[in-house]
């Protein structure tokens, strides 16, 4: 597994290729990219600043990958999450999962994102025309995570 928390941008194509070509028994790679939007809660967003808890953030992401690997028959997982100041259209996060078949890779990728959003210590602050504000956690994200406790697949 690979976990990177960094201020620098990433090349998703390169990272996905690395994961794909690492093993000849890989049959599927599923990836997710999160991007900074220029709008939130009806307001224009000009900038986003991400804070994290060095040490805990990395451990928490590794623990999420370990859980995903226990639940699904997947080969490898990569998470890159950016911190610091970002602009609309900047990439925030990349999750990529390799496996033999698409089904388990799709499920594991979604599981990792749902858990990342509710468990990994990152906090967003956005700049709008009326000033800066902390982004509030969404109950819909908690619901998205909870459904993994109800289903077996």
């Amino acid at each position: 597994m690979t976990v990177r928390v960094q201020t620098e941008d990433f090349d998703a194509g390169f990272e996905i290729n690395q994961l794909r070509s690492a093993r000849k028994d890989v049959g599927a790679v599923v990836s997710f990219i999160g991007q900074v939007r220029d709008v939130n809660e009806g307001d224009e967003v000009s900038q986003l600043t991400l804070e994290h808890y060095p040490g805990m953030t990395e451990k928490s992401l590794e623990a999420i990958i370990t859980q995903a690997k226990t639940r699904w028959n997947i080969m490898d997982v990569l998470i890159i999450h950016r911190v610091g100041t970002l602009q609309p259209c900047d990439q925030i996060v990349l999750v990529a999962v390799s496996g033999s078949h698409r089904g388990e890779a799709f499920a594991a990728c979604e599981f990792v994102m749902d858990y990342l959003k509710t468990e990994a210590p990152f906090w967003k602050k956005e700049a709008t025309s009326s000033g800066e504000r902390w982004v509030e956690a969404k109950s819909s994200d908690d619901d998205a995570r909870e459904r993994w406790n109800k289903t077996t697949e």
């Binding site: 804070e51 808890y53 509030e136």
Partner: protein
């Protein structure tokens, strides 16, 4: 006993603390997260609002998310922060 405290995001900004070392009286133990929150809340209104008020606060001990009834030990790293919003 001695612990190290960290605050993040809105808490860090409002309390104007990012980290501090704190001595907790062994005689008043055992120390739980809730008891520590109550102690810190005595520092002033803004501390009470941030730690015991309406806003949700999450706590971690040694990088693990914990509940209010978790016990704190000597040398622990304790952190308080709002619900997370990454991704």
């Amino acid at each position: 006993m001695k612990i190290k405290l960290f605050y993040f995001a809105r808490l860090k900004e409002t309390l104007k603390y990012s980290t501090e070392d704190l001595e907790l009286g062994d005689a008043e133990g055992p120390w739980t997260v809730l008891k520590l929150k109550a102690l810190l809340s005595k520092r002033g209104d803004v501390w009470g609002q941030m730690l015991m008020g309406k806003l949700k606060v999450r706590a971690a001990i040694n990088h693990e998310l914990v509940h209010d009834n978790a016990t704190i030990a000597n040398g622990d790293e304790v952190a308080f922060f709002p619900p997370v919003t990454g991704g």
